[in-house]
């Protein structure tokens, strides 16, 4: 079993290569198809002439043919060189190294937050079907599905920061007066915990609450509905009826027999939700001045900064591939019927 799983993982990773190549080609072509000439953007002075613009274009290597540029790019990627960002002036890989942990930390926290809210409530509403709890849940899911995270974030800031003053200033990961712990994992909370600085730990956690809640709002609805649906299916199935007939305690039926079976569809949804949180929280990152990869790549996109945009799409694609794989493995761990397929 162990070896089989490992072989399957290797096979799946191999199969991901053509996908990633496709992603590389498409982003490379798409970003060049976008209107806007980087050389003109970077020729910022009002006294710069056409020759100056051409000189900048040559320096950027954009006077070469597209095919030549693509080969250069492939060669660079093979050497793990993603180029330099024109906006920040630093190697793209270094920029991502600084920002990806911030995005991951926030996404993981928001994900955990949405699970903590959605799963128990989903189970409850399945247990008390059509009761007032169920109706309330229905209202909550409708509202949360309709509410854009950005807008919810604004409301949170207004109430908890601006009016009540209980939440920390909605800017960044730490208050700015505080000294960040030495970077080990890049996760502010973990790094703080590692050196035992619990004050920074609390602060970092507090700073995450509002943005995480804004991100969680969109995830709560699908998770809750899937949990409820899965649980209802499980509770109506024959094996639960049999278990009841045998007089197994209700608690045991729920936790040991119904819940694992109800989790499968939820797990698939969880994969989707987490992926979306990683790639699509740009507005939330902007709103809370969160130094993540979302706001970074949007800045790059508006500044026609090719290298970071290409790297962003590639990195998110890799994350998606890994995530799908992880979800598949987890599904197999929960349900023996579920076979890992190559």
């Amino acid at each position: 079993m162990k070896h089989r799983t490992l072989r399957l993982i290797a096979w799946r990773l191999l199969m991901a290569l053509p996908i990633l190549f496709g992603v590389i080609v498409v982003t490379f072509v798409l970003i060049r198809a976008l209107p806007g000439d980087p050389a003109i953007v970077y020729a910022s002075g009002p006294n710069m002439s056409q020759e100056d613009i051409d000189a900048i274009r040559r320096a950027m290597g954009l006077d070469k043919s597209v095919f030549e540029q693509f080969l250069l790019y492939l060669n660079n990627i093979a050497h793990l060189n993603f180029g330099n960002s024109l906006v920040t002036g630093q190697p793209v890989l270094k920029d991502f190294g600084e920002r990806l942990p911030a995005t991951l930390e926030l996404a993981v926290f928001a994900f955990a937050l949405s699970l903590v809210v959605a799963l128990p409530v989903g189970v409850l509403s399945a247990l008390y079907r059509d009761s007032w709890i169920d109706q309330l849940v229905r209202v909550i899911t409708s509202v949360s599905a309709a509410m854009p995270g950005f807008f919810f974030g604004l409301i949170l800031i207004f109430i908890f920061y601006f009016l009540m003053g209980v939440a920390p200033e909605p800017i960044g990961r730490l208050s700015g007066w505080s000294i960040a712990p030495p970077t080990v994992t890049g996760f502010m909370t973990i790094d703080a915990a590692l050196i035992g600085d619990w004050e920074i730990f609390r602060e970092a956690l507090g700073k995450m609450l509002m943005p995480a809640a804004s991100m969680a709002i969109f995830a709560v609805a699908p998770l809750m509905r899937m949990m409820r649906g899965g649980m209802i299916d499980a509770l109506d199935s024959d094996y639960i009826k049999a278990a009841r007939a045998y007089g197994i305690p209700r608690r045991k039926i729920l936790l040991q027999y119904a819940l694992p079976n109800a989790m499968l569809p939820v797990l698939a949804t969880m994969g989707m939700v987490l992926s979306t949180m990683l790639g699509a929280n740009i507005m939330i990152e902007k709103l809370f001045a969160w130094p993540g990869i979302g706001s970074y790549s949007v800045n790059a996109l508006t500044g026609v900064d090719y290298a970071p945009v290409q790297a962003f799409v590639l990195i998110v694609a890799v994350l998606f591939v890994l995530m799908t794989l992880a979800i598949d493995i987890l599904s197999a761990a929960i349900d023996p019927r579920y076979k890992l397929k190559g």
């Binding site: 000439d37 002075g45 009002p46 920002r99 939440a167 001045a289 130094p291 026609v304």
Partner: protein, 536 residues
């Protein structure tokens, strides 16, 4: 791991997360005298004053970390307490202790300041000045600008002795000294920079992009792109008056509402780039201190492509200028946070520009002009807006669409990203759009040379007029004040009559300050001048 164990772990994690509460640390900016906290919208993208593709926000660093040979003097802002503005007519020494202009104006001799050092302790000498200016006339970004002050070749820069530096000019040029005051000709620690230069990169562009080699009043002690930068005072700074020892902590907060919330809760000392509406709300609420300083050299206008039908007809341009609902735009779009550049007098007496154009909304006149141009039935056109101009561009476009509809002109609004906008402007492909511009040097002929002449992108209205080209040429080196004035007045008349640019207003530079901050000074580049800022 067994399935049951996995579920238990998952449940435990959930429970432990529930046990956490909000961690709030109060960060009241006004209580801390040793730090001035600044919130900005954009992040600087380079430390290099002549960096290719530098963004305006990068001045916040390069302006304050480097000194120049000379700089503009300061004067108080009229009818505002505790606020200062640069004085274009008064140029004083900075890295140079003093300077002397020869009688014929072709030689300028600078005496370097005794005892002044760079941040690493090396003395600032004439050799540094020479290397820095050589560099500036070699790099594309600074080269083009310095050329407007007759600074074009390294041959013009001579080291007379260690502490004396000389510039020779082909002819006297009133733009030379102002050009030495701007961002680009910063004095760089040449020995330090040369250590990082390579044969492919003789001017150390790569290194200076993310490292500083300055002698200015601040050193960069922390810089994280898109997040924050911290500037500390350089203790041995000799090139000016030291206002305070406070460090500057700047954070990048892209969303205006977050910046505004911090400003209102007094957690920041200086907040920039809020919309007119935010500013008006805050003033009405009467809480924070708002300084709105007018920069006469900045303008927002509607550009009409004077070489493209139907706007190649002067009458059509005038008709559009009479159709603009100026007052309504000024109040509902800008919330009156600026100086109007409309409704001026038809007669020109003052030799300055921008000045208000003689237009107000008059739909009858607009219709008559269209009829005279043979277009009584109107026409169709496109109004292009830059998506990065956000809050003001769209309402302006909609008001224009509505107003032009009343004189029979059908307007389609098109929104494009700013990268594309630059290209469309360069290609002269746009019939009508919002053009924003500002000149660093205040002379009116300079403004006309950039915005009403040439085939470059910055001639927004694509204005090709022989008389204007001739006047722009003639005034370049004009020293006789009377002749200069007459010619400038003629240029203003042309701008009023031909309206390639329908001027709307000159927006205020609005800055929200905490009560503790003093000495605020507005510099020509519109970014932060931190030298005189102090807190008490």
């Amino acid at each position: 791991m067994k399935r049951r164990d996995f579920l238990n772990v998952a449940a435990m994690t959930g429970v432990s997360l529930l046990g956490l509460r909000l961690g709030v640390t109060p960060a009241n900016a006004q209580g801390r005298n040793d730090v001035i906290r600044v919130l900005l919208e954009d992040s600087p993208n380079t430390f290099d004053p002549s960096g290719t593709g530098y963004n305006p926000a990068s001045c916040n660093i390069s302006w304050n970390v480097y000194d120049r040979l000379v700089t503009f003097g300061v004067k108080p802002v009229e009818d505002k307490d505790d606020a200062f503005i640069y004085d274009y007519s008064n140029i004083v020494g900075q890295a140079a202790e003093s300077y002397e202009v020869s009688e014929d104006g072709t030689t300028i001799t600078f005496k370097m300041r005794e005892g002044a050092t760079f941040h690493d302790g090396r003395p600032v000498t004439a050799h540094d000045a020479k290397w820095s200016l050589d560099r500036a006339v070699n790099l594309p970004t600074s080269k083009a600008q310095l050329g407007t002050g007759s600074l074009t070749s390294p041959d013009q820069f001579t080291v007379v002795d260690d502490m004396t530096f000389q510039i020779t000019l082909p002819q006297a040029d009133r733009f030379t000294l102002p050009n030495l005051c701007i961002l680009f000709p910063a004095i760089i620690n040449s020995e330090l920079a040369k250590e990082h230069a390579t044969t492919e990169d003789p001017w150390a562009e790569v290194w200076l992009k993310t490292n500083e080699a300055g002698g200015g009043p601040f050193t960069v002690s922390r810089y994280v792109a898109d997040q924050q930068f911290v500037l500390d005072r350089f203790a041995d700074w000799k090139n000016g008056e030291v206002a305070s020892a406070a460090r500057i902590m700047a954070q990048i907060v892209p969303v205006a509402s977050s910046r505004r919330a911090s400003a209102e809760r007094a957690e920041a000392d200086l907040v920039r780039e809020l919309s007119g509406r935010d500013i008006k709300d805050m003033i009405d609420a009467g809480k924070p201190r708002v300084l709105g300083i007018s920069n006469p050299a900045r303008m927002v206008s509607i550009a009409l492509n004077s070489e493209m039908a139907p706007f190649d007809n002067k009458l059509v341009r005038q008709a559009v200028a009479y159709a603009v609902p100026y007052q309504e735009m000024f109040e509902s779009v800008l919330y009156s946070r600026g100086t109007p550049l409309f409704g001026g007098s038809a007669e020109t007496t003052e030799a300055r520009y921008p000045q208000p154009l003689p237009y107000t909304q008059d739909l009858e006149k607009a219709k008559a002009l269209l009829a005279e141009a043979g277009m009584a039935d109107g026409f169709e056109t496109t109004f292009t807006i830059d998506s990065s101009l956000g809050t003001t561009a769209e309402p302006i476009a909609i008001l224009m669409q509505e107003a032009l509809g009343k004189i029979g002109v059908t307007v389609k609004i098109e929104k494009v990203p700013s990268a594309q906008m630059g290209q469309l402007q360069t290609d002269r492909a746009l019939p009508m759009y919002i053009a924003v511009g500002g000149a660093w040097l205040a002379d009116p002929d300079y403004f006309f040379r950039i915005f009403y002449n040439s085939t470059r992108r910055w001639n927004y209205g694509n204005y090709q007029n022989e008389e204007m080209s001739k006047l722009v040429e003639e005034t370049r080196f004009e020293t006789d004040e009377e002749i200069y004035k007459t010619k400038v007045i003629r240029m203003v008349e042309l701008a009023k009559d031909d309206v390639p640019l329908i001027l709307l207003w000159s927006p205020f530079q609005d800055t929200v300050l905490s009560d503790a901050v003093h000495g605020y000074e507005y510099m020509f580049h519109g970014q932060l001048e931190l030298r005189p800022l102090f807190k008490s």
